[in-house]
């Protein structure tokens, strides 16, 4: 019986949420709930536009430039390990970007569905989760930009060797 009591106490302590928010922040979230939600909805819309733009741009790069060049080089017995290496990195990064955006959007939808007036602490915890997901998404876009730049440099070197 004693053991059961101790285990239950430990479980209650572990499970009960530790508030990371100050009273001021909790009160601010509850009071400004509708304003915060509106800001988040606007952000969701802006993110959708950005995603659409980037997705189209990445697709254009692959279809009009990178893939045909790689195929051409292989066909003409001029394979370049640098260019083909960058190509496979780009494909991987694009796939990661797509999946990270989906994850981020799912978290964001959950965030928008929460009642920040009644559960400000859980709401803030979800914001933190969304921040982390957004950070990963941002790093994918930066990596993608870097790889596209590397491809340009590699093709420049190829041109110099012609």
């Amino acid at each position: 019986m004693k053991k059961l009591l101790v285990i239950s106490l430990v479980a209650v302590v572990l499970v009960s949420p530790v508030s990371a928010l100050s009273e001021e922040q909790t009160s601010e979230i509850s009071q400004s709930c509708s304003t915060i939600k509106q800001h988040l909805k606007n952000l969701q819309l802006a993110d959708s536009r950005t995603r659409s733009f980037l997705g189209t741009a990445y697709q254009d790069f692959l279809v009009s430039y990178i893939t045909p060049l790689n195929v051409n080089l292989v066909k003409n017995n001029r394979p370049s390990t640098t260019i083909s290496g960058i190509y496979s990195d780009i494909l991987d990064t694009r796939a990661k970007f797509n999946s990270r955006f989906t994850t981020y959007s799912q978290i964001f939808e959950q965030l928008l569905a929460m009642d920040c007036q009644k559960e400000p602490e859980n709401f803030y915890a979800k914001i933190e989760e969304a921040r982390e997901a957004r950070g990963k998404l941002e790093s994918s876009t930066k990596k993608m930009r870097s790889l596209l730049g590397n491809h340009y440099t590699a093709v420049q070197k190829l041109e110099e060797g012609l």
């Binding site: 955006f101 969304a130 596209l148 420049q156």
Partner: protein
Amino acid sequence: MTKKSEKPMNYNLSILGLAAIIIAVATTSLSIIIYHNSGDIYLDRSRPGFLPDEKEAAEADNVKKENYTFSENADVNKNTMEEYLEHYQTELNNLDKIQEPFSKDALSDEALGLPKEELKDGEQS
């Protein structure tokens, strides 16, 4: 036709109608679940509230679109590569018009209008 034979026919028709409705509801529900879980819903800009507005359409018109595709059968020489790089650079410049996409600042406490967390003693911002 006798009344006896009409009854089974009406009964079968009702069963058929009910089965058709159940199948339609099941397949529609399944497709919505797949649509949601695959993430395609987040790419769908035909949703209410996500349609491009006039300002966005005007901005899209201002972006110089490269009507260029490198051919898989093209000759790889200095001229073709120069042309390739020129068009590629224009596309890169278009891509760079979006500065810091998905920056974390948009979800910061300041952006959401929340008071900053008080730092503990010894912590630096």
